[in-house]
């Protein structure tokens, strides 16, 4: 393997994704907007994470679990036939090949180890697509913890496979019947539950959202995607770094982990949101679920329900660091429609023999559209994170195709 290129300071202060900045801030975003009853619990997670992250023993234990249990490192796959058809050189970072089938396991193994270190006996989680819930149930089983997963009733219907997997793994799945009955309300319910359970439970947040330290901590646990990909690109590409780095954005964890590996390079970072859940592209300043960030809101400041074919992107906000990267101009946030995503999923299946998660298919749909529209110059090198595999989405796709 060739060496990774040297780290340049090409981006403004705070946009290098190394942080955290004071008081959990990413520019004007972030912070710890929690009820007083959760303030101490957040402080404990913060303190424990800082200690653990500075402890080589903790790091080694995590690296080992990621290797022997989750199957890391994941390959970088050149998408040969897609590339030829699109006129760009597309590489896929294969998070779909991790154990449990998505990048969510990277974060969960980190947080589960942290929970054990903190003496907690149970993990609480919210889930949309069910991938974070399955990862949490898996890590809990592996480390001898209990797991309680909150999931919107609507998502329970459309992600039945993952609900079964969680229950088989011994987790309790609690249906959430309020509001949009999707990820937003599952997150609210998990937070309410945590207020009464801080003594023995760790809230394992599934994305780069929530109160400080979660956005920073989850990005650090997902950084492995970007760091591996950077080394792999260095070995694969003449230029060392790709021209574009693309990932889908729900709360933004697979994108944050991917971007973190390239924030200090010349690569252009593109986050792809669902048309109906475009917090970064179309949200306005607000506070929800513990952090100050960009959220879809109506004229009165009420949070608007998101709508996406991909349960994992069906969230009306975005993590605070993405909001900051957007303001800095370091990353760009674009949207694609349900139809474009579904088409892209089928196209990848037929061209490369890979059935992607509908979330990941959003990233691909943007690449396809941008290559067609000339936004991606011919011959560009594109790294795209394929955040998960599509088994969970077959019933949704069956209705569409």
């Amino acid at each position: 393997m060739r060496e990774a290129p040297p780290r340049h300071r090409l981006v403004p202060l705070g946009g290098t994704m190394d942080g955290p900045l004071a008081r959990g801030r990413f520019g004007d975003y972030g912070g710890r907007y929690v009820p007083e009853s959760l303030a101490e619990a957040c402080r404990e997670v913060d303190e424990a994470f800082r200690e653990a992250w500075a402890d080589p023993g903790f790091r080694a234990a995590l690296v080992r679990l990621l290797a022997v249990h989750a199957g890391r490192p994941t390959p970088l796959t050149p998408a040969e036939r897609m590339s030829e058809a699109l006129g760009v050189r597309l590489y896929l970072k294969r998070e779909d090949l991790t154990h449990t089938g998505s990048h969510k396991i990277n974060n969960v193994l980190g947080q589960a180890l942290l929970a054990v270190r903190m003496g907690r006996r149970r993990l609480i989680a919210e889930t949309g697509a069910g991938q974070h819930g399955v990862a949490t149930a898996t890590a809990a089983a592996l480390l001898g913890l209990e797991a309680t997963v909150f999931m919107g009733e609507r998502d329970i219907e459309r992600q039945a496979l993952n609900v079964f997997r969680m229950r088989m793994l011994g987790a309790e799945v609690v249906p959430v019947t309020t509001g949009s009955r999707t990820l937003k309300d599952a997150t609210s319910e998990a937070m309410r539950h945590w207020v009464g359970a801080t003594a023995d439970s760790h809230y394992c947040v599934g994305s780069v959202i929530g109160p400080d330290p979660y956005p920073w901590m989850v990005r650090e646990f997902q950084r492995v995607i970007g760091e591996e990909a950077r080394g792999q690109c260095a070995a694969e590409l003449r230029t060392g770094v790709p021209d574009y780095v693309v990932a889908c954005v729900g709360g933004g964890s697979n994108a944050a982990g991917t971007f973190a590996g390239f924030a200090d390079t010349s690569a252009r970072l593109v986050g792809v949101e669902a048309e109906g859940g475009a917090g970064a592209a179309r949200g306005r300043l607000g506070v929800l679920h513990g952090c100050r960030s960009l959220f879809l809101q109506d004229g009165d400041g009420q949070i608007v329900q998101a709508h996406s074919i991909a349960a994992g992107l069906d969230y009306p906000g975005v993590g605070p660091e993405h909001a900051h990267l957007r303001d800095l101009g370091r990353a760009r946030y674009v949207t694609v429609t349900d139809e474009e995503a579904a088409e892209a999923a089928v196209r990848l299946a037929r061209a490369e023999g890979i059935v992607p998660a509908l979330e990941s298919a959003h990233a691909l749909a943007w690449v396809i559209g941008a290559a067609r529209g000339g936004e991606l110059p011919a011959g560009s090198t594109v790294l795209m994170t394929l955040s998960g595999r599509g088994d969970k989405d077959v019933s949704t796709l069956k209705e569409l195709l």
Binding site: A39, S188, L288
Partner: protein
């Protein structure tokens, strides 16, 4: 109400004066916009001997509320309630003789910005503000704007709050200190939590500001017990459950009168 009727410190002054007569303080809550004639509940509260009235501005995602207030919020929003409409309703009310305290989530405060939001409160005759998802370490942005507008932001303290932080909360709180009785969300409970007594005693060791105990207080007996430790009580879900069940202002007047009586009986509390 005109601007002149609300001066900085008015809520705290009012509560201190009443407390100092030995009276147990009662602050009932209602979700703004819950029914077409919802401000009639406020008159009933005042008639029943409330010492302050809390008006909730419903938010789409009330993450610290249990099912009752979640449901009330949803119903009010479905009826078209908004901060602007609720404050307009309040500004048309005659002086009830007790301070009005608004409670809401920080997203609604940020929407127009804390300055504009606090100015609108004051314009509507609201003297106090509770924002349950704005802890003391993030409160500066609001407290400055609130002070400028003459609105008193009360901070919450929880059983999990450690000692030095508790003192800071008491110091930076205005109007009163809101003691959260238990580790949980709002909602009726069968008994007053054990954590309530300990927390209120801890708060009173660091401040002489009025201390109101809230979350879960549902019955006259619980109010009486709470009064042994705190200067008074906040009653939210127990009111809103009755409203959701169809209780009108007269029914609520009767319920609050029973709480008032319980508080009045409990005047032998050690201070």
């Amino acid at each position: 109400m005109t601007d002149a009727t609300v001066t900085a410190g008015a809520v705290e002054g009012h509560l201190r004066a009443r407390r100092d007569t030995g009276r147990g303080l009662l602050m009932p809550y209602v979700t703004g916009g819950i029914t077409p004639g919802w401000t009639d509940y406020l008159r009933a509260f005042a008639d029943a001997g409330a010492d302050a009235i809390e008006v909730g501005l419903p938010f789409s995602d009330p993450t610290l509320d249990g099912v009752t207030i979640q449901q009330a919020s949803d119903i009010a929003l479905a009826r078209g309630a908004s901060p602007r409409r609720i404050l307009a309703d309040l500004s048309r009310l005659p002086d009830l003789g007790v301070p009005l305290v608004v409670s809401t989530y920080y997203n609604l405060v940020l929407h127009d910005g804390p300055e504009v939001f606090c100015a609108a409160l004051r314009q509507a005759g609201v003297g106090g503000l509770i924002v349950p998802d704005l802890p003391v370490h993030e409160a500066e942005e609001l407290t400055g704007a609130a002070e400028a507008a003459g609105v008193e932001p009360a901070l919450l303290a929880s059983p999990a709050t450690p000692e030095p932080r508790l003192a800071e909360i008491a110091r930076r709180s205005r109007g009163f200190v809101y003691a959260v009785s238990l580790m949980g969300t709002t909602g009726e409970r069968a008994a007053l939590a054990d954590s309530a007594a300990e927390l209120t005693e801890r708060i009173r060791r660091v401040t002489d500001r009025p201390v109101l105990l809230g979350f879960g207080i549902s019955t006259p007996d619980q109010a009486r017990e709470a009064r042994r430790h705190a200067d008074g009580v906040v009653v939210g879900a127990a009111v809103m459950r009755r409203v959701l069940d169809g209780a009108g202002p007269d029914d609520l007047r009767a319920f609050l009168t029973s709480l008032r009586r319980a508080l009045d009986q409990e005047c032998d509390r050690p201070r």
